[in-house]
Structure formats: structure tokens, C-alpha cells
């Protein structure tokens, strides 16, 4: 039985920069936990699943909650909340799939606290922001106490609830490359209830369609269907460079199932991947036009 208790005692640490935060993490190793929005960590602490001696909060570092647009694309800061994404005019104009994803993310109360980066770092296979960002070709900037590096989101997740961040590292920015004209994006979150559920199956599609109905580019990402959020690259290859038709879409949807390796309910999830990939492709193609 899981009990929710009051928080355990901890030393509250408030670094003033991301570099300082990284140094604190290195100093205290596995006795320190990083906290951004707190919507994942606080319940874990109350259930005693995580009991850090040092709680390192990012909330006291100014200027980390931003959504910026430049000629390369869109940059999202580490403390940008889901609500920030929900109401951003830049997001709505350039990558509305993320605004639509925020609509199905938990609740209004959670969205005002939870961060996009935090959702990725939870590295849950069902993380709502993961599959849409994979489908957008997002890249992460990693910094902290070690040398700064960038990594495609595709290579970030290493297993259920695990990622490639090393001790002292944290994600300092999400970079979304500029999307081509005539691009449409859709995220379908298949859930039992209408709100507040983790995705049972998540499918994100971003597709670029030219005037002759040829698919110039496509990315399909699946959530909650494998040990990590994954791209369905075989399905993408069926579509890329080819004319879109009912038949090719169906074939791609069937092929997307190959990318799934569900950790639970495999028959159901595989069937849903096929159905929802087909649906997402059709809707995304409509939006692209």
C-alpha cells in the first residue's frame, strides 16, 4: 500500500545559476535531487520513492522560462511551464502541435507548475511532451558543471524513466528546428478518462506535404508503446518521397506497429498504434494543406 505522507526533511538549496546547480549535484551526488516544477518530484518524495538529503531548486534562477524564436527555429527554456506553451503566440503560429499537446496535459493546476523540460527529464515512456517533440526533430542543450553539449531528443531516452544525463548535467534548452511550409502536426493521446490520465497510447505525427500531394518529410513518434518514446522510422520511410493515398497511409499505420514494444497490454496497444497512426496521419495531412 502506498501512503502519502508529509515531505521528509531536506536541506533546501537555491542555486543562482544553472552552472551552480550542476556543481551542487556533483558535490552531493545521489543525495541531491533537482526540482523544477515539482509536480513529479513532490509526490515521489511524499511516497518516499525519492528521499533527497538536498533539494536543489531551479525556481530561484531568473530568466529560465522563455520561448524564443529566431531564424533557426524555436528555443524553449528549462523552466518554461506547460501553461507558457499553451498560451504562447509563437507556439500557436509555428508549432501548434505543442499547444494542442498542452491541452491534454494533466490539469490547469499542474500545467501552471510543470515544465516542458521536467516532463522530458521524467523520461516516462508516456511523457506527453516527448513524442510531439520527437516528431518535431527537437534537440536538447545540456549543460551544468560539465562541458556543454547538444543531443537530438531521439538519443536522450535510454530506458523507462532513464535518460543519458550524467551526474552534474541538466537540460538547459530545447531547440525546435524551423518547420517547412505546408507542415501539419497532430498529437493523439489515447486515454481511459477525459483528463488527468497518462497516455495509454500516444501518437505524434508531423508531416510536410507538397502541392502534388507528395510527402516531403514525415516524423512519427509513439508514446507509451515501448520502453522509451520512439520514432516509427520504418513507417516514415514508406511515406517519404511518395504520393499520399489511402493505401500508403494504411500501410504506414500498419508498419508503425513494428516500432512499438509495449511493456504492458501489448495486443491492445499494438492495435491502437495502427488505428491512431492512421488517424493522426490523416489529420496532419489536412492541417498541412
Amino acid at each position: 500500500m502506498i501512503f502519502i505522507r508529509r515531505l521528509p526533511p531536506f536541506d533546501y538549496v537555491a542555486p543562482k545559476t544553472l552552472k551552480e546547480a550542476g556543481s551542487v549535484l556533483v558535490k552531493h551526488k545521489d543525495e541531491a535531487s533537482l526540482m523544477a516544477g515539482g509536480t513529479d518530484l513532490m509526490p515521489k518524495m511524499k511516497k518516499r520513492e525519492v528521499v533527497p538529503k538536498y533539494l536543489v531548486s531551479l525556481k530561484n534562477i531568473p530568466g529560465l522560462a522563455y520561448i524564443k524564436e529566431d531564424k533557426e527555429g524555436i528555443k524553449i527554456g528549462p523552466m518554461t511551464t506547460i501553461h507558457d506553451v499553451e498560451v504562447s503566440s509563437v507556439i500557436a503560429k509555428k508549432v501548434p502541435i505543442l499547444r494542442d499537446t498542452s491541452y491534454v496535459f494533466a490539469s490547469a493546476q499542474i500545467r501552471n507548475l510543470a515544465t516542458v523540460v521536467g516532463n522530458l527529464c521524467s523520461s516516462a515512456p508516456s511523457a506527453d511532451m516527448a513524442s510531439p517533440l520527437l516528431a518535431l526533430g527537437a534537440v536538447l542543450s545540456i549543460s551544468g558543471s560539465k562541458k556543454a553539449r547538444t543531443i537530438p531528443l531521439n538519443e536522450f531516452f535510454t530506458g523507462p524513466f532513464t535518460n543519458c544525463l550524467e551526474l552534474g548535467e541538466l537540460v538547459s534548452e530545447i531547440q525546435i528546428p524551423s518547420q517547412a511550409p505546408r507542415t501539419g502536426g497532430v498529437y493523439i493521446k489515447h486515454t481511459i478518462r477525459n483528463a488527468m490520465d497518462h497516455a495509454l497510447v500516444g501518437v505524434a505525427v508531423v508531416i510536410t506535404v507538397d502541392k502534388n500531394n507528395i510527402c516531403n518529410d514525415v516524423k512519427i513518434a509513439l508514446g507509451a508503446c515501448a520502453p522509451t518514446p520512439v520514432r516509427a522510422t520504418a513507417a516514415e520511410d514508406i511515406l517519404k518521397g511518395n504520393k499520399l493515398s489511402e493505401a500508403t497511409i494504411e500501410k504506414a499505420a500498419k508498419t508503425a506497429v513494428k516500432a512499438s514494444k509495449p511493456r504492458s497490454d501489448p495486443e491492445y496497444k499494438k492495435e491502437m498504434v495502427q488505428v491512431l497512426t492512421g488517424r493522426a496521419l490523416k489529420r496532419a495531412i489536412q492541417l498541412a494543406k
Binding site: 502519502i4 508529509r6 515531505l7 521528509p8 526533511p9 531536506f10 536541506d11 533546501y12 515539482g38 509536480t39 513532490m42 509526490p43 511524499k46 511516497k47 533539494l55 531548486s57 525556481k59 501553461h83 498560451v87 491541452y103 494533466a106 490539469s107 490547469a108 493546476q109 499542474i110 501552471n112 507548475l113 477525459n194 483528463a195 488527468m196
Partner: protein, 155 residues
């Protein structure tokens, strides 16, 4: 570890010396004495602890009191002005929206957060705004109606 904290609740400044592990919910109820905000699930799922931080609804059970400093905190007690009820409160009373009342402060605050951002929401937006609030008694219908009614009053 204890720390001196400055919390501005319903426009009143409070200075309290509190352990940094106390959540905003705990401090509101147990140190400041404002019992309107309720502890339901204590893990951010039920919404009974909803308060506004700078006008935006949050689960106060997931906010460390130390991190609520420097923000305007509004609880259910702070909604009525000089004894005059907020239009949301009036609409909920007139519409018979609540039964036992335990969920209600949270739903009122979630609704207030919505109307702060969208003064004239659609029914779908009203439903979405309280999607993070559980009610065991009512079936939610009259809360949604009440929000739409309150938005028509110009509240």
C-alpha cells in the same frame, strides 16, 4: 531546516518561520489559519487544495511555501471583497452547485483562474478548467453551468 518566509496571502503580508519542507497548503492551514483550502489527495490529483499564484491556479500541496514568496497568493477566503461575494460564488450558490462543499473552494479557485485568463469561456473551456478537480457528490454539471453564468455577469 527552518527559514524566515514572507508570504503575501489575500493581500496581507505574513512573516513566518517555517521548515522549508512545509508545503504552501500546510502553511496556509496550519500556520496562517486559513482553513478554506482543503487537503484531499496531497499529491496534485484532486484539486481540493487549489489556490491562485499571481492569478493562476495551482495545487498548493505541490508548492513549497518557501517558493511561494514574492507571489500574490489568493485563497478562497480572499475572493470576496468587503463581504461582497465574487460572481462565481454567487452563481454557485444560486445554481445549487455544491453539496458537501469539500471540493468547492478548489473548484471556485480553479474557476477564478479560468475567468482571470478567459473572461468568456466556452462550456468546453469551463469543463477543461475544472478537469483537475474531483467532486464525489454532485456530478459537476452545476459547477460548469455556474461558471458560464458567472462569466455572463461580467465577473
Amino acid at each position: 531546516m527552518k527559514q524566515l518566509m514572507n508570504l503575501k496571502v489575500n493581500n496581507i503580508a505574513h512573516q513566518v518561520e517555517i521548515d522549508t519542507r512545509r508545503t504552501l497548503l500546510e502553511v496556509l492551514r496550519e500556520h496562517i489559519g486559513l482553513m478554506g483550502t482543503k487537503k484531499g489527495c496531497d499529491e496534485g490529483d484532486c484539486g481540493a487544495c487549489t489556490v491562485l499564484l499571481d492569478g493562476k491556479p495551482v495545487n498548493s500541496c505541490l508548492v513549497l511555501a518557501v517558493e511561494a514568496q514574492g507571489k500574490a497568493i489568493t485563497t478562497i477566503e480572499g475572493l470576496s471583497v468587503n463581504g461582497k461575494l465574487d460572481p462565481i460564488q454567487v452563481a454557485f450558490v444560486e445554481n445549487g452547485a455544491f453539496q458537501c462543499g469539500f471540493c468547492t473552494p478548489g473548484i471556485v479557485m480553479a474557476a477564478k483562474g479560468l475567468l482571470n485568463e478567459k473572461p468568456h469561456p466556452t462550456e468546453d473551456e469551463a469543463k477543461r478548467a475544472i478537469a483537475g478537480n474531483l467532486c464525489r457528490c454532485t456530478g459537476y454539471l452545476r459547477f460548469v453551468e455556474g461558471i458560464i453564468k458567472a462569466s455572463q455577469v461580467g465577473g
